[in-house]
């Protein structure tokens, strides 16, 4: 049971060269795999490929295999993919349907598309709102939310389809620290309570340090670093690859560089 990418290469329609690959990656239920890398390193493309939308929906050419729980993603239709693998984009505003008057109805949009009975839709919506931590927003107008709240509504909307995996493409990129904190807490809760597997593309390495089990770093479409989150995020090559290390790592380096000792108390305080 996992999302498995085997020797995947992908190139967009009309493009002569691959923008991704070769990539081997595995996301298991209950695990968070973080993805970092400079701009144009192929992170968003990786999300589309892992979610089965590329080439299925946007075209292009894929080599290698993408399997979701053992099923070839190419054989699944978009609404079947959506129920196995939820995808969240950077901009909350483009993910909302803009046809609903309340957050409750916005979250219900996906289950309603599946033609589920009303009682099942209601059950799923309350569950998704509770899991995302936004029950109090249920009656609000989705167009009148803050950035962090909007992103959580988009997250709840994806959760309402009950996918086993979540693929999140820089979900905090437009958020302030408070909004980032809200999303990070929600993701921790989702993993804890649902056992979902998460592929999390994120520039903010502090978020990865907090919730990721493993991290891979992409450069020009290929994996150049991979391993446990702690090891990869402390790797000295990170900055050369256009990724800023987490604040804790930078602080430790600064303390050591100034000749002071990095004590266990300091490490505990940072954590």
């Amino acid at each position: 049971m996992a999302i498995e990418l085997g020797s995947v290469r992908y190139r967009y329609a009309g493009s002569a060269s691959s923008v991704l690959g070769p990539i081997d990656l595995r996301v298991e239920p209950g695990r968070v795999v973080g993805v970092a890398g400079a701009n144009e390193s192929g992170k968003s493309t990786l999300c589309l490929v892992a979610a089965g939308l590329a080439p299925g929906v946007i075209g292009g050419r894929l080599e290698g295999s993408v399997r979701i729980d053992g099923v070839d993603a190419a054989t699944l239709r978009p609404h079947e993919l959506a129920q196995r693998c939820g995808l969240l984009f950077q901009h909350a505003s483009t993910q909302l349907s803009h046809t609903t008057a309340t957050v409750f109805e916005e979250v219900a949009f996906g289950p309603c598309n599946l033609g589920l009975p009303v009682a099942e839709v209601v059950t799923r919506v309350w569950w998704a709102l509770r899991t995302a931590g936004i029950e109090p927003l249920a009656s609000r107008d989705p167009a009148r939310l803050s950035g962090g709240q909007g992103q959580l509504v988009a997250l709840a909307s994806v959760l309402a389809l009950r996918p086993r995996y979540l693929i999140l493409d820089e979900p905090t990129s437009e958020l302030d620290p408070a909004g980032t904190q809200l999303v990070a807490e929600a993701l921790e809760r989702i993993v804890r309570e649902t056992g979902a597997g998460i592929l999390l593309v994120e520039h903010k390495t502090d978020v990865l340090a907090r919730i990721a089990d493993e991290v891979v770093v992409l450069d020009h479409g290929a994996v150049v670093l991979s391993g446990s989150a702690a090891a990869v995020l402390a790797d000295p090559r990170l900055a050369e690859l256009g990724v800023e290390p987490p604040a804790g790592v930078r602080l430790e380096r600064a303390v050591r560089a100034s000749g002071l000792e990095w004590s266990a108390e300091l490490e505990e305080a940072v954590e």
Partner: protein, 271 residues
């Protein structure tokens, strides 16, 4: 199915009150198709019945309906918004109505005419009747009620989404134009002063609005796919507006009214 039975079904399903949204009063509770049929009859009557009778009768009915449905204030605001158009109609007809030769007074080369005055007032009354009929239907019908009713009558989910998104896009586009205008002003664009200066400012304003909207299309398409939008079968409707016997009777009456007015006019019984 009656309105109360819809509400009961919703309560059993656990839908919250803010999703059920019980209509406030008789006119609000009419089926959207009924309100559109009544509006169509009012528009036809205002334009087809000759003289003051048509627009006068329609405006009187509209004012009474608006007062009863507590939308009179909104209707007045819409009437005020039409003021510039009314003024231009009056000025044009007053001074340059072709064939008018009954001046009220001569002011140098200008000679407003009695014929122009009456024709301008008549046109204004018809315009107000038309805009008020449409506005009343709009103000008393939530867009999702209209969409749900159209879906019940066979409109597919794509049609529903196109109509819903188009209606909701208007305030969003206005908001976006405001944001881009502020951004361009901060960079020195002149949006005040003479007309040619304002016109010159339109290019840096329009380009980001149009291209930004186009750039969103692909992400919005993928987000819809990721929410099961293309799933086969019928979409679940959380609530469907009631279609009672009074609605059906009113629609037949409206249709009979349109046919009668048109037939009488064609038969020459209306002047």
């Amino acid at each position: 199915m009656t309105l109360s039975s819809v509400a009961s079904a919703a309560v059993i399903s656990g839908l919250p009150d803010y999703v059920i949204r019980e209509p406030r009063g008789f006119y609000h509770s009419l089926n959207p198709a009924t309100k559109l049929s009544v509006a169509a009859l009012e528009v036809v009557a205002a334009f087809v019945i000759p003289g003051w009778l048509g627009p006068g009768l329609v405006i009187a009915v509209l004012l009474a309906t608006a007062a009863a449905s507590r939308t009179l204030r909104g209707l007045m605001v819409i009437g005020l918004a039409a003021l510039p158009l009314v003024v231009s109609i009056m000025v044009v007809n007053l001074f340059v109505l072709p064939g008018a030769s009954d001046p009220i007074v001569r002011i140098g080369p200008l000679a407003p005419t009695w014929s122009g005055l009456w024709f301008g007032l008549m046109t204004t009354a018809r315009l107000l009747a038309f805009s008020s009929a449409v506005a009343l239907a709009y103000m008393t019908t939530p867009i999702d009620d209209l969409l749900a009713d159209l879906a019940r009558r066979g409109l597919g989910r794509r049609g529903m989404f196109v109509i819903g998104a188009a209606v909701q896009m208007v305030p969003r586009t206005i908001e976006r134009v405001g944001e881009i205008t502020d951004a361009q002003r901060a960079r020195g664009m002149d949006t005040e002063g003479r007309i040619w200066r304002r016109a010159r400012g339109l290019v840096p304003l329009a380009a980001p609005v149009v291209f930004g909207a186009l750039a969103e299309v692909e992400e919005r398409t993928m987000a819809l796919e990721a929410r099961g939008f293309t799933a086969p079968g019928r979409q679940t409707l959380l609530r469907v507006p009631a279609d009672r016997s009074i609605d059906r009777a009113l629609r037949w009456l409206a249709l009979a009214g349109v046919v009668a007015v048109a037939a009488l006019r064609l038969a020459g019984r209306m002047g």
